[in-house]
Symmetry: C2
Subunit: 161 residues, 2 copies
């Protein structure tokens, strides 16, 4: 199996501070982002901090998504590490809309560029204002609480895509 992966790192800035501290909401958002990228969710782990902020990871068949939030700065650091046919850009669009980020900065890396050197390669690095149109993705990805489906929390051996 090919080991090549795309690793999208995003810094979300000027986000909705209340959302950044809402653990169940962020957990749903991250799971929806994984699904939007056409990833298969294997498990999630989220942790709240005191007095604010949270960390969370979604392990997917195609690698992982992670988030760390600092509500006091309106800031979140997110990683979308995907292999196979997943599209991390779709996951980012869901997050940008869901966090109500006023701006973000993205760096796209290629990982596991075997057997060449460098194995890590910066493909792109830019800063932007989210498109208004991405907000509809929240509905498409089913983030609304009424549509919530809890992700699997059990361990099971699966085939990597």
């Amino acid at each position: 199996m090919k080991a090549t992966g795309l690793h999208l790192l995003v810094e979300y800035h000027d986000c909705d501070r209340k959302i950044l501290n809402d653990l169940p909401h962020i957990e749903r958002l991250m799971t929806s982002a994984a699904e939007a990228a056409e990833a298969t969710v294997l498990g999630v782990m989220f942790h709240p901090f005191s007095p604010q902020g949270l960390s969370g990871v979604v392990v997917i068949e195609e690698s992982h998504l992670s988030i760390h939030t600092w509500p006091e700065h309106g800031y979140a650091a997110v990683d979308f590490f995907t292999c196979g046919k997943c599209n991390p850009e779709r996951a980012h669009e869901v997050l940008a809309a869901g966090l109500k980020a006023s701006r973000f900065e993205k760096m796209l890396l290629r990982r596991g560029n075997l057997p060449r050197s460098p194995m890590i390669e910066v493909l792109n690095h830019d800063e932007a204002i989210p498109r208004e149109s991405t907000h509809h993705l929240l509905h498409v990805a089913g983030v609304a609480p009424a549509e919530r489906q809890d992700p699997p929390k059990l361990r099971a051996c699966s085939t990597r895509r």
Copy 2:
């Protein structure tokens, strides 16, 4: 609290293929790596793939460590994302020795460089052969099975360092 973090991305190449497929061993190694970096482990999640390979995440008070292995290529992609006073370089030394990597490539990023732009900054990017001397770290970090301590798997609210 400051949001600045150090994100160390490492590609381990020509590793011991049996170790890359040994989930309990990798889980101990990653926990030991976190402890070597002086991070506080909050929880772990590891997942085996069929016919081989695994993914794993260690959530720490100071962000996270992740690993994805491809035993068929002797390759592992690892991320050490740390905030506060943790030293991701120490975690890397434990991994390089534990995976028996013949070579590795590292990229060190600064994250959350608020409010400046760019928020993500490449501080260093190099490729190297592990130092023989790092092998002693396995003992120091307590990776030997007899010394194993299971990491906490419960969720609890803690103070971010």
